[in-house]
């Protein structure tokens, strides 16, 4: 898989994750039940004591996390931008792992939206680790200035 493909895949995943987090944040503040095929599982998770951390809804934290990941993917790729993506996705993965643990062992209900987000975050983390370790400084080198090598042909004057 080329670096470009990996980056595009990551952007697509981050956009899907952003959509999920936006929806869950919306239903949280609107006081609605999240659409859920698994009965009341999503509601149980969304309204549980673990749906907030220090008073902040975890859905909102997810939303901010996905925005950060997306931003780090959309800026010009450098060693620093790859490191930023790594930091955000590792933090997101860790937090998703914590939430999944709470779903399985504390709330005893799994929310499909949260599980999907956790899956996306896991893939994003794996890809960002791979991308970061692979490095590739080619894009870090200064780019050829626009116009260079594309000078207009000299017109010979007779």
């Amino acid at each position: 898989m080329s670096r470009r493909t990996v980056r595009i895949v990551m952007i697509v995943l981050a956009v899907i994750g952003l959509g999920i987090a936006s929806y869950l944040t919306y239903v949280h503040y609107a006081g609605l039940k999240p659409a859920c095929t698994a009965g009341e599982s999503c509601t149980k998770v969304q309204t549980s004591v673990y749906s907030k951390l220090a008073g902040v809804p975890v859905a909102l934290m997810g939303l901010i996390g996905y925005i950060a990941i997306l931003a780090s993917l959309l800026v010009r790729e450098t060693e620093t931008s790859r490191f930023a993506t790594l930091v955000f996705t590792l933090a997101g993965f860790g937090f998703s792992a914590y939430l999944t643990y709470r779903e399985l062992f504390s709330i005893h209900a799994v929310c499909e939206w949260c599980a999907t987000s956790a899956g996306i975050m896991t893939i994003l983390m794996v890809l960002s680790v791979w991308r970061f370790l692979r490095g590739d400084g080619s894009l870090d080198r200064p780019r050829i200035e626009a116009g260079e090598g594309a000078r207009p042909a000299q017109v010979s004057v007779n």
Binding site: G31, K33, K44, V49, L53, S106, F132
Partner: protein, 275 residues
């Protein structure tokens, strides 16, 4: 100059060039290695920090980060008690029913006392319905139970029976309104015997010894079972859930998209009152 000399010069040059290339390659390889080592260290450091933060969160929320319900003597509980009294004062109650027994419309409210969505409904849309339709004798509301948020079956039954026992003195609605007003964090285990007794103590006019005696009435656990069966028959999957209809007629499921807006309830009630 002998013909050997230029060749030897060239060879020397080539050797120098080759040595330079080799040095460059070694330097590049070493730089790449050191960059890779730096990346691995950075990755390890970030992963370590994340693990530490998650461990701290796990420990901090180990008990569920629970917020217990307010103590009966606290200002929050007193405010809740005043609100409940002003909402319900003067409205007839009979066991699980709030409102005029001959009201033309019956609304059934299926709830779990620990359910946060039920709390949202009870504190936002329900007071509007009570003021507009129950107080005016147009609607009566029956409270039925359905276990959703409460984890343990035993706790669910105990708290529901505590509310039903207040119904023996026609004060069930005061009890359940107070329960919702002072609801603790879900899953934090705040529903204890002292919590249930504390709520009872806040219900004005409730004879506590009669209430305590009524809690062992076997009719109440049966009522909880009957409620669960009714909820099942209606195909309810969550709380709060509702049925509505003309009193004495069949009740239909009332689907609402949100619990904080009384509008959808008002529309359904108005339709039945006109029909």
């Amino acid at each position: 100059m002998s013909p050997v000399e230029p060749e030897s010069d060239l060879t020397r040059k080539q050797r120098r060039e080759a040595a330079r290339e080799e040095r460059k390659a070694i330097e590049e390889a070493s730089a790449a290695q050191s960059a890779q080592r730096k990346r691995l260290i950075q990755l390890g450091a970030v992963a370590g920090v994340v693990v530490v933060i998650i461990a701290i969160i796990l420990v901090a929320t180990g008990s569920g980060g629970s917020k217990s319900a307010p103590k009966p003597s606290s200002p929050a509980a007193k405010t809740a008690a005043t609100e409940v009294v002003s909402l319900l004062q003067g409205i007839p109650q009979s066991t699980i029913t709030l409102g005029n027994p001959n009201a033309p419309v019956t609304l059934q409210y299926f709830g779990d006392l620990e359910c946060p969505f039920c709390k949202q409904f009870t504190l936002s849309a329900l007071p509007i319905i009570i003021k507009k339709y129950v107080r005016t004798g147009k609607v009566k509301i029956e409270y039925r139970s359905m276990q959703t948020a409460t984890r343990e079956r035993e706790t669910f039954q105990t708290q529901q029976v505590a509310a039903l026992a207040a119904g023996k003195q026609n004060l069930m609605w005061n009890y359940l309104e107070l329960f919702y007003h002072e609801q603790g964090e879900e899953g934090s285990g705040y529903v204890t015997e002292s919590y249930l007794q504390g709520l009872a103590a806040q219900v004005p006019g409730l004879n506590l010894s009669n209430w305590s005696a009524a809690r062992s009435d076997p009719a109440y656990p049966n009522q909880v079972i009957a409620d669960a069966q009714a909820a099942n028959q209606n195909g309810f999957t969550g709380t709060p859930s509702f049925t509505i209809g003309k009193t004495g007629g069949g009740l239909q499921k009332l689907e609402v998209s949100g619990f904080t807006d009384a509008g959808q309830f008002e529309t359904a009630i108005e339709k039945l009152l006109k029909g």
